[in-house]
């Protein structure tokens, strides 16, 4: 069940991504309507993070392309924003909460340009939105996991983008942070922004998102939540057996053959 839309914000066409010759995403093809709050759902190792990284150009593509706002990535970089997984960085880095929020302005400000007072006020606003302004001078290593997640969100907000990619923002956070994130997602949506969230809790998925991508190395479904979170499609996504696809992938990797050549 893959539902396509007209005038999509994101158009992903036949995307295949491999790590070390082993395909982790096969022929993924979908479109996302503007203003949607999208949940990317699937089991561990399904390629959820890989998908958003590939769309943002952080990974080489074996084949296919992704167009954002109907354009190539490089033309619209300033309109997209990324919240990586919290564990992907070393929080012992010598920086304050404010420093991290300001990083959201680096791309907008441009290479080798100094940060301005305007950037500072935008970063402060972003911290305020996630209730972290009172910690602005705190060293990031002293934050709790939930607070770290909120700082990452503030950094993304400071970019003032139109399209957000969030990698597991709900993973291992406290109730206060979860509430803050949900509030934020609703607010962004109300402003007409589009948000893609990698998520692995099925229970809350139906409640949070209005569009769902079901993923397990291939795209199982893409469409409105009510039509995608069905027992049949979930069974297809989470079905335990190693698919033929995965087995071929293993062979390609062991023989060192690039399947897209």
């Amino acid at each position: 069940m893959i539902q396509h839309v007209d005038n999509p914000i994101i158009e992903v066409h036949d995307l295949t991504v491999s790590y070390d010759k082993k395909p982790v995403l096969w022929n993924v093809d979908f479109t996302i309507p503007g203003g949607a709050l999208v949940g990317i759902i699937g089991p561990n190792g399904a390629g959820k993070s890989t998908l958003i990284k590939a769309i943002m150009g952080l990974l080489p593509l074996s084949s296919g392309y992704a167009h954002l706002f109907g354009e190539k990535l490089d033309n619209v970089r300033k309109r997209i924003s990324y919240v990586p997984q919290r564990e992907s960085v070393d929080w012992d880095f010598p920086a304050s909460v404010m420093d991290i929020a300001l990083m959201g302005r680096y791309g907008q400000r441009g290479l080798f340009k100094r940060i301005t007072a305007e950037d500072r006020s935008i970063a402060r606003q972003a911290l305020e939105q996630v209730h972290m302004l009172e910690f602005a001078n705190r060293q990031i290593g002293q934050l709790s996991g939930g607070q770290q997640q909120r700082v990452f969100l503030a950094r993304a907000l400071a970019q003032q983008a139109d399209l957000y990619f969030m990698d597991e923002p709900f993973a291992g956070v406290d109730a206060a942070t979860e509430g803050a994130i949900i509030e934020l997602l609703k607010e962004l949506k109300a402003q007409g922004k589009t948000i893609l969230v990698v998520h692995h809790d099925l229970q809350s998925a139906a409640e949070y998102f209005d569009w769902i991508l079901l993923l397990n190395t291939r795209l199982v479904a893409s469409g409105p939540t009510a039509e995608t979170l069905t027992p049949t499609l979930l069974q297809e996504t989470y079905g335990g057996k190693l698919s033929l696809l995965a087995q071929v992938g293993e062979i390609a990797s062991s023989k060192g053959v690039n399947i897209r050549e």
Partner: protein, 434 residues
């Protein structure tokens, strides 16, 4: 002492060259070391240092002269090659980065030592002094070396200054930097190139074997004193130049002595001191914090014993002596007495003729600990399905850790419970009720 004053006064031109040279390359290493450390590339720095040796030897063999600039060019070529190879091997083979680094380091260094031996047995008169690159010899610095060191330092400072925010983001979160469209590849290349240049000059003072210490130790030590990247850069540069400066002095007083080991000794002392006495993160500060927490646990346990005794005897206004307290809760008498003393001092207990008695603040604190203990037991049995006879031990530890925020959350979750899994009442003070 005369040697020291003579050295410090910089009146001797040779001393001047050596000191200025050491400080210049110390600053470069201190600055680049911070990024090497933060990007977790410490081992790569070591590989580069070892890999410059064959470059120096080859440059000498091909040119036949011991010219600073020629040797430097050779060092840069093999140094850069080693960075490239490590990257290539870890991307294209099954070897992981640590194995790739070890492989490149040992192969290049082996080749370097081999070439060095060949040069030394060739009988070329100009060869004398090449072996100084192994462990460093600051005293062998020449006036023209200073121009080179100065040029490298200038390059390092200019690039790091203008790219300050870019390198900061790159070191913290490369994926995010890339998502914003920063030229990550070019920035990484710039850092590697500067590191190679720094290493290729730094070996004059410390030598290839110990160069990574000049790169890493100052950066690691400075991290203990500051939480800011800018502060770390300045401190690291200062510490590295102090190390290099003292190394130069020793080289001056003992002409036969290699400087590298001495520089490393000085840097190790600086690092050791930082680890020990730095505020908050130092070992002493941590020991102090642990001790304070232990005292807090002791005091809370004593207060809890009072509460339990009072509960059993029907009144919290009674006084109890040490014997009764020891029966209620087994603890060493010295610890008990010192705990009682500090509780009296802070106004939680009264020392009366019949024994010790809880004051109002003491009762409030005791009530809180008992409440936390019993609420935690209830939480474990109600929400985590742990059997009631298994929850006590856990609560004994947790009760001392719960913050007021967590307490509120716990109370909300349990809906302000009346009794714990063992049917003991969960106590609240008057203040809590409002």
């Amino acid at each position: 002492m005369d040697a020291l004053t003579h050295f410090l006064s910089l009146s001797d031109a040779n001393v001047r060259y050596v000191v200025i040279g050491c400080v210049l390359l110390g600053i470069s290493s201190g600055l680049m070391g911070v990024y090497t450390l933060l990007r977790k590339r410490a081992l790569l720095g070591d590989a580069i240092a070892h890999a410059v040796l064959p470059g120096i030897c080859l440059a000498f063999m091909l040119s036949g002269v011991r010219n600073t600039w020629v040797l430097f060019a050779g060092a840069i070529i093999t140094g850069s090659l080693s960075v490239y190879l490590v990257d290539l091997i870890s991307r294209r083979s099954r070897l992981k980065p640590d194995a790739a680094i070890a492989l490149v380091l040992s192969v290049f260094f082996g080749a370097g030592v081999l070439l060095l031996t060949m040069i030394q047995s060739s009988g070329n008169a100009a060869q004398s002094g090449l072996d100084k690159f192994l462990f460093g010899k600051a005293a062998a610095m020449l006036p023209e070396d200073l121009w080179l060191f100065g040029a490298v330092l200038l390059g390092v400072m200019v690039v790091l200054f203008f790219g300050y925010k870019e390198f900061k983001l790159l070191a913290f979160d490369k994926g995010y930097a890339q998502s914003q469209g920063l030229p990550v590849k070019a920035l990484e290349m710039a850092l590697s190139t500067l590191t190679v240049l720094t290493v290729a000059t730094g070996i004059q003072a410390v030598g290839v074997v110990l160069m990574s210490a000049l790169l890493i130790a100052p950066a690691a030590a400075s991290r203990y004193w500051t939480h800011r990247l800018s502060g770390m850069l300045i401190l690291s540069a200062v510490m590295a130049s102090i190390g290099a400066y003292i190394g130069a002095f020793i080289s001056y007083t003992k002409p036969g002595m290699p400087t590298g080991p001495w520089i490393v000794v000085v840097l190790s002392v600086l690092t050791g001191i930082s680890m020990l006495v730095a505020p908050n993160q130092g070992l002493l500060a941590r020991y102090w914090q642990r001790r304070k927490h232990r005292d807090k646990i002791l005091q809370e346990n004593i207060l809890k014993a009072f509460y339990h005794l009072g509960e059993r005897n029907g009144s919290q206004a009674l006084a109890f002596d040490i014997k009764l307290l020891k029966q209620q809760r087994e603890m060493p008498e010295i610890r008990l007495k010192s705990g009682l003393r500090s509780l009296v001092k802070e106004g939680s207990l009264l020392d009366t003729q019949f024994g010790y008695q809880l004051t109002r603040t003491g009762l409030e604190a005791a009530t809180r600990v008992v409440r936390l203990h019993r609420m935690w037991e209830l939480y474990l049995s109600r929400h985590l399905n742990i059997a009631p006879d298994h929850v006590h031990e856990d609560a004994e530890g947790i009760e001392h850790l719960i913050t007021p925020e967590l307490e509120r959350e716990l109370e909300l979750l349990l809906d302000r419970p009346g009794s714990d899994p063992h049917d003991s009442q969960i106590p609240y003070t008057k203040k809590d009720r409002n």
